[in-house]
Amino acid sequence: MNHHYLLPDISQPGKMGCSLPVLDVPPTELPPKELLRQELELPEVSEVELIRYFTALSKLNYGVDTGFYPLGSCTMKYNPKWHEDIAKLAGFASIHPLQPEESVQGALQLMFELQEYLTEITSMHAASLVPIAGAHGEFAGLLLVKAYHQDRGDKARKKILLTDSSHGTNPASAVMCGFEIGVVASDSEGNVDMKSLESAMNEEVAALTLTMPTTLGLFDPKILEIGQLVHERGGLLGADGANLNALLGRAKFGELAYDYVQLNLHKTFSTPHGGGGPGSGPVCVKEGLADFLPSPLVTKNRGRYKFMSPAKSIGRIANFHGNFGVMCKAYAYIRSLGAEGLKRVSENAVLNANYLKEKLKQYYYLPYDRVCMHEVVFSARRQKAKGVRTVDIAKRLLDYGLHPPTVYFPLVVDEALMIEPTETESKQTLDAFIEAMKEIARDVEENPEILHTAPHNTPVKRLDDVRAARYPDLRWRMRS
């Protein structure tokens, strides 16, 4: 199929993709022409051409519904179909955010109960559903940290500690909140290096942000000691909750010494990722931080639900109440699984990851050879020695109809391949992936060229990123 045309190429004057009603009131004179636009150059296409164009585009895409999508740290689990239908109910999708509270009691109840479920799942005191994405939740969490210390009159704490394996959003969010960054090293086991933490953790540190399980897919057995050290020295312990899938129904952040956690409903709670949003990144906090949560929260009083703003709220971080449509799907997920179902989620996620780890470790270097949690990080350093890079392996996987893992992250692992199978994949799927990875490892030895030139079966071959950045072509132009 030829997909190398764009909307202007199929545009022809006089076409339109839908019909609109005629004006049913007397027209009013238009305002002075100084306020009006002279021309509006948008494409003109018929409905059938439009649908065929975008349908053709969809066929160039790979989603969870297409096949295995083991993108580490992203939790690309299957998205139950009927949850989509729930979010599309008119009573949820077609309500206005500023309607009287009395007319949206069902929506407020759903939000209130979701707040309750999330605080129960994380053993926290309160939750705000407002953050629109994971990074937005991190931003909110760090603003809370800042407000908390300022409220105590402690103005010296201007630094956030992170591990060297942390997500890029962690330092970026800290800088957005006006903090400096301190980095804590990982030890040879992939855990937090306690000596490094010991020396970094001083009275200038506002909080340690620590993903758990870590971005190496490992649970740090010293988590309580870490929490104790941070707390003794006046800091807070915050979780990037990206990896909650490993702990569902089993362990709670609040009991693991954390003071706050930001969740990703689009990862852990199975709402689809949309090609890069919409997500939802609720922030859950212990009691001492609850007064600072972003506004609004939903409260319940004598059977009625209403919005409220916490006493010392960091303020508004979004125009309305968060991504309600995403909340509907996460709510349905939690209700359809219950506590026991959530536990089975983490069990199968961890089992699947360990199975991949055991089956692949003789073919790919495993930097931390120990029980992993929901994901496993390999290094292609053996393959690199033969002139094949992680990127080549990733591109070759595309030829097998598989989505590659996360590559080159975390940064502490050379030529990283971060594989997160999730619980929604069957042993058969994992076995097919393992076979592909074994064949690729064999090709590295016997036929490396096939890796260097991969992918071969995709709509386009390897694309020129350098050219894209050097000569930015970011839009088409249409002129009358």
Binding site: L7, G17, C18, P21, L36, R37, L40, L42, P43, F54, T55, K59, L60, Y62, G63, V64, P80, E84, L89, F92, S94, H96, P97, V104, Q105, E120, A135, K146, G168, T169, M176, D220, R250, A251, P272, G274, G275, G276, P294, I317, N319, F324, G325, V326, L342, E347, E358, V371, M373, F409, T424, K427, P455, L463, R467, A468, A469, P472, L474, W476
Partner: protein, 437 residues
């Protein structure tokens, strides 16, 4: 009795699990959780018992029915979230699971659909706003405004943001939260006041929060005279009829893209539209898609200028943002392409004429008046003879969601919104009920 065993989302059978445990070399799944301290790995979770698809659908249908849907009620409420007509093309395309179950297009060869769709979005938004470049999308209009203010402060190395008094109060709150993170300050100013030279930017909304429009060129000139940036917050639908920010000289233009083919959905997901001048491209936050070629010279699309972004630059990134609300941006692209040149103009004209009809009819009522006698688009403020809450209650009793009560800003005032979705009959009923007070 309810049963979730076997779970439809957990395909491994017991036999599979046994085989896998053998391969791993453990006797129980429990052993895989050995790194979690023993006392903490058996937490108790108090959650409702699980329900089947059938049961939960029934329950959630009932919960949804407790809400007053705009599908059943007439709506004159705006204030930042708008009920516009959404052609069915939008829903059908965004419901294709190749789009909605994908993630960020890190693997470009397997993501050309998302990437090319984003390139279309960026192009359409630039055409609409008259701006030179657009990113792939942000959270919502208010956070896009917050990011724009930070961008201006960083570029100009100045710590003060001036925001017009007629910018949506919630947007002002969000901008304040965003910039206070970086320890910048905010000042609310009258549009025609003189700005101090330490201001990095002036943020203006057009049409403003009260629905009114003005000529911007003189204000833009004043802002440029002190070396600051002019940031416009616009209503994308209004641009079907009114002068786009690129034409009156805005340096950055942002908008909420919900109105472009996305449901009101109780306020989210929305879409933050972010555009700016070409020369500021490398300071622009958010994801950007660019066109390039593959090794065989065939055109293709990639995420580009990624060295601005957090996953490459970490603490030196321009913003922490990762998501681009990609599905909402796709909806906006399909919406704009469906309506096209004539359709968008027609929608904007329908809004304009209908809103003016309603405003004129209301102004004829005894005790009512328009708060401002200035050009407006689809929203306008009216002064009522009684508290707007009383009027809204009466409207609600007759199946109408009234306007936004802004009596805390202007005495007894209500902000009404009329779109192409409102019929003459609905407006006449509105006027009739208003006339009872």
């Amino acid at each position: 009795m309810t049963s979730i065993i076997p779970s439809p989302y957990l395909p491994n059978t017991d036999a599979d699990r046994t085989t896998m445990m053998q391969e791993i070399g453990v006797d129980s799944i429990e052993e895989l959780f050995q790194d979690i301290p023993e006392t903490l790995r058996h937490a108790q979770f108090k959650l409702p018992s699980p329900l089947s698809e059938m049961e939960l659908k029934k329950e959630l249908n009932q919960l949804a029915s407790l809400n007053t849907s705009l599908d059943n009620y007439v709506c004159f409420l705006g204030g930042g979230s708008y009920r516009h007509f959404i052609p069915s093309t939008v829903e059908h395309i965004t419901s294709r699971s190749e789009f909605y179950t994908a993630y960020t297009p890190y693997q470009a060869e397997a993501s050309q659909g998302t990437l090319q769709g984003t390139y279309e979005y960026q192009s359409l938004v630039c055409q609409l706003t008259g701006m030179e470049v657009s990113n792939a999308g942000m959270y919502d209009g208010s956070t896009a405004a917050g990011e724009a203010a930070i961008m201006a402060c960083t570029m100009k190395n100045r710590g003060k943001v001036a925001v017009s008094t007629t910018v949506n109060p919630t947007y002002r709150d969000v901008i304040r939260t965003y910039i206070k993170g970086r320890n910048f300050s905010i000042e609310t100013v009258e549009l025609d006041s003189n700005l101090s030279s330490d201001c990095a930017c002036l943020v203006v909304q057009q049409p403003n929060f009260f629905g009114y429009l003005g000529e911007m060129e003189a204000y833009v000139q004043k802002v440029h005279d002190i070396g600051a940036l002019f940031i416009a917050i616009v209503d994308p639908i209004s641009l079907g009829l009114f002068k786009p920010p690129g034409q009156y000289g805005a340096d950055i233009a942002v908008a909420d893209g919900q109105a472009l083919g996305n449901q009101t959905s109780f306020g989210g997901p929305g879409l933050g539209v972010f555009t700016c001048r070409q020369e500021y491209l490398r300071q622009m936050p958010g994801r950007i898609v660019g066109k390039t070629v593959d090794v065989e010279g065939k055109p293709g699309y990639v995420m580009t200028l990624v060295t601005r972004e957090q996953y490459i630059r970490r603490e030196r990134a321009i913003s922490n943002i990762c998501t681009s609300e990609a599905l909402m941006a796709l909806a906006a692209a399909v919406y704009l392409a469906t309506l096209g040149k004539r359709g968008l103009r027609q929608v904007a004209e329908l809004c304009y004429h209908k809103a003016h009809y309603a405003a004129e009819e209301i102004a004829k009522l005894k005790g009512y008046s328009l708060v401002f006698l200035k050009p407006f688009f689809k929203e306008f403020a009216i002064r009522c003879p009684v508290a707007p809450s009383r009027i809204n209650q009466a409207l609600f009793n007759e199946g109408i969601i009234g306007g936004l009560d802004i009596s805390h800003i202007i005495n007894n005032a209500m902000l009404l919104c009329v779109t192409e979705m409102n019929t003459k009959q609905e407006m006449d009923k509105l006027v009739e009920i208003l006339g009872r007070f």
